[in-house]
């Protein structure tokens, strides 16, 4: 091939287009991102530094100034010995209760919702769409409306004030959005796969368990994240339906934060707050990437 061209003009543009690192575009772009990030980080920053300050320092100092003397006492107190009423056992009791509620609730609510989504995508029957529509409307019903009748329903089922009860409640309230997620996801799975499995003789459950489940990881990640944060942060259902011996961590948090023993112990409050939020936060930090990917994998279609 001829080489005349390359000789003509080395003075002319050649090679990669020169890029300025500090272009207007980059300034605007990163400026915007950084300002936004500051807004989002500010509360976390305040929570953390406050939780590490002693009370006198809080009273005198500026909310935003870093602690002069770092103390972990508030964390220890929040976890171990913060009081509500007569008990000074901190959050630690509630933590395990929360875990006790979280695990079965997450598993059962996601299990049922995923079966719903699967049935609604591959095994439609007469009226299945109507149920789905009602289910979606259900997402808009304020919890409070259902609080009362659900107390009565649970009483009749002998599930009130039990782990089973609160699991059922989380299953009910998680169902609309989760079913929507799973249905949209399964809608993007090729129907041929389903047909192939049927020709292979697999039935409803086997197709679900052996074919669909293993390929639904992304959407399960999304569902798990949503449920873990939702259930972990729940206060109302836990306190009403779970029974005293199962009070979740948020109940203790509420008690610690809302009861003042003389001076408001902001540092303990903040530490308690952070401790309560730790588990969902960790879940997010670990799986944030999977979360976005999972949403992209079908949750937002249609």
């Amino acid at each position: 091939m001829d080489n005349t061209l390359s000789n003509t003009a080395l003075t002319e543009p050649h090679g990669p287009r020169p890029k300025r690192l500090i272009s207007t575009r980059n300034i605007v772009l990163y400026g915007f991102l950084i300002v936004a990030a500051l807004y989002w980080l500010l509360p976390l920053y305040v929570m953390i530094i406050t939780s590490l300050k002693g009370l006198p320092e809080i009273r005198m100092g500026n909310v935003f100034s870093p602690p002069v003397e770092i103390t972990f006492a508030p964390w220890a107190k929040a976890w171990d010995s913060a009081c509500t009423g007569l008990y000074c056992e901190g959050l630690k009791v509630g933590f395990w209760n929360s875990v006790k509620i979280l695990i079965p609730s997450t598993i059962i609510s996601i299990t049922i919702a995923s079966v719903n989504g699967y049935a609604l995508s591959f095994w439609r029957f007469k009226g299945s769409e109507i149920f789905f529509t009602i289910l979606l409307f259900g997402a808009f019903i304020p919890y409070q409306v259902m609080l009362y009748p659900l107390v009565i329903i649970l009483r009749e089922l002998h599930l009130f004030s039990s782990l089973g009860g609160v699991v059922l409640i989380h299953t009910i309230f998680g169902m609309p959005i989760l079913t929507l997620l799973f249905r949209n996801y399964f809608a993007s799975v090729p129907e041929e796969l389903f047909k192939a499995a049927r020709v292979d003789g697999a039935g409803f459950w086997r197709i679900f368990l052996q074919i669909m489940l293993p390929m639904s990881l992304p959407i399960f990640v999304v569902a798990i994240i949503l449920q873990v944060t939702g259930i972990w942060n729940d206060f109302l259902f836990g306190i009403i339906y779970a029974g005293t011996h199962n009070f979740p961590m948020t109940v203790q948090l509420n008690n610690i934060v809302n009861s003042t023993q003389g001076v408001k112990e902001y540092n303990v409050n903040m530490a308690a707050t952070l401790l309560t939020g730790l588990l969902p936060l960790i879940v997010y930090f670990i799986s944030g990437k999977l979360f976005v990917r999972g949403i992209a994998a079908g949750a937002v279609k249609g």
Partner: protein
């Protein structure tokens, strides 16, 4: 075509195949598997809604009683200035959080989609508040927005000694404090949804627009946003269902105050249902909320549904 088969129905008599199943028994496992959903929709959602509508016509106090009083609860509801304030507030809160969380969420997603550095970090930063409970959000923002020692104090410390910023105790603006905290919590999730949507756009569209010389902002505005309609709809459903139900945040942040200036309908329902023992009034309020939602949703769902039908036929 060969028609000899029709004469040859013989195989039918000799072969005894399985008979046609009864319609109810077809798809049996699917129907069994759907029982929880059917129960939840019928007993849970429909049942509870009907229950609450029925008892909204009674004078039930702490406990449901069949003492029907016609529209009395509704008369009182619509006369109540707190209810009016609540409706007004939910409108403000709804519009603001819709506009800003969609707007800011989309902008953030766009920024994140520019092949930036530290994308993971930024995404986590925007997303983490979604992991926190409203109690936490309320507490933190109550603090930050405190006129005495919150952000306002910092600005005063910087030198603007006369700076006053105390929307928490300003009845005109207290609802915006809730908006600010709500946005802080929820926008990250919207961003994640939008980002997923953006990533789903055909790369060729971008190239086509560049060849056409269409500036990026116009591409977003006129091409990409319309293409992301399904994402916007999913997001809208999620945000809107959150708006209707917002409760914990108000309780934690302002408790409806000062006065009744930041009350919201869900709290109205809650207060009367439990704190103030007037179930009928609470249920009347919730019925109004429910029917508003239905009035908005049904035409929309109908439109969506009929449009989809058209699309498959066209």
């Amino acid at each position: 075509m060969s028609n000899n088969l029709t004469n040859q129905q013989a195989p039918a008599s000799e072969a005894t195949g399985r008979q046609r199943r009864h319609p109810l028994l077809r798809n049996l496992s699917a129907k069994i598997a759907a029982i929880p959903m059917v129960l939840v929709t019928l007993v849970g959602f429909v049942g509870c809604s009907v229950w609450s509508i029925v008892y909204s016509f009674t004078s039930s106090k702490s406990l449901p009683r069949e003492t029907f009083v016609g529209l009395k609860q509704y008369d009182r509801l619509f006369d109540s200035s707190r209810w009016q304030a609540s409706v007004e507030n939910v409108a403000i809160y709804g519009v603001c959080s819709l506009v800003f969380s969609l707007g800011v969420g989309f902008l953030l997603a766009v920024a994140m989609d520019q092949k930036i550095r530290f994308e993971n970090t930024f995404r986590t930063i925007f997303l983490y508040p979604f992991a926190l409970s409203f109690i936490v959000t309320g507490l933190v923002w109550q603090w930050l927005l405190n006129g005495d020692f919150g952000i306002a104090q910092v600005i005063r410390d910087i030198g603007f000694t006369n700076f006053e910023f105390n929307i928490l105790s300003d009845r005109e603006y207290s609802i915006y404090a809730i908006v600010i905290a709500g946005l802080w919590q929820g926008t990250g999730f919207v961003m994640a949804l939008m980002l997923a949507g953006l990533r789903g756009i055909d790369q060729d569209i971008w190239k086509a627009a560049r060849v056409d010389g269409i500036p990026a902002w116009r591409t977003y505005l006129f091409i990409v946003i319309p293409m992301m309609k399904p994402v916007f709809i999913t997001t809208l459903v999620i945000i809107a269902s959150g708006i209707v139900k917002v409760f914990d945040l108000v309780v934690a942040l302002t408790d409806g105050g000062p006065g009744v200036s930041s009350e919201l309908p869900a709290k109205y329902v809650y207060d009367w249902m439990f704190g103030r023992g007037n179930l009928g009034q609470a249920l009347a309020a919730s019925t109004v909320m429910l029917s508003t939602v239905l009035i908005i949703l049904i035409p929309w769902a109908y439109l969506e549904y009929s449009q989809k039908k058209d699309a498959t036929h066209g």
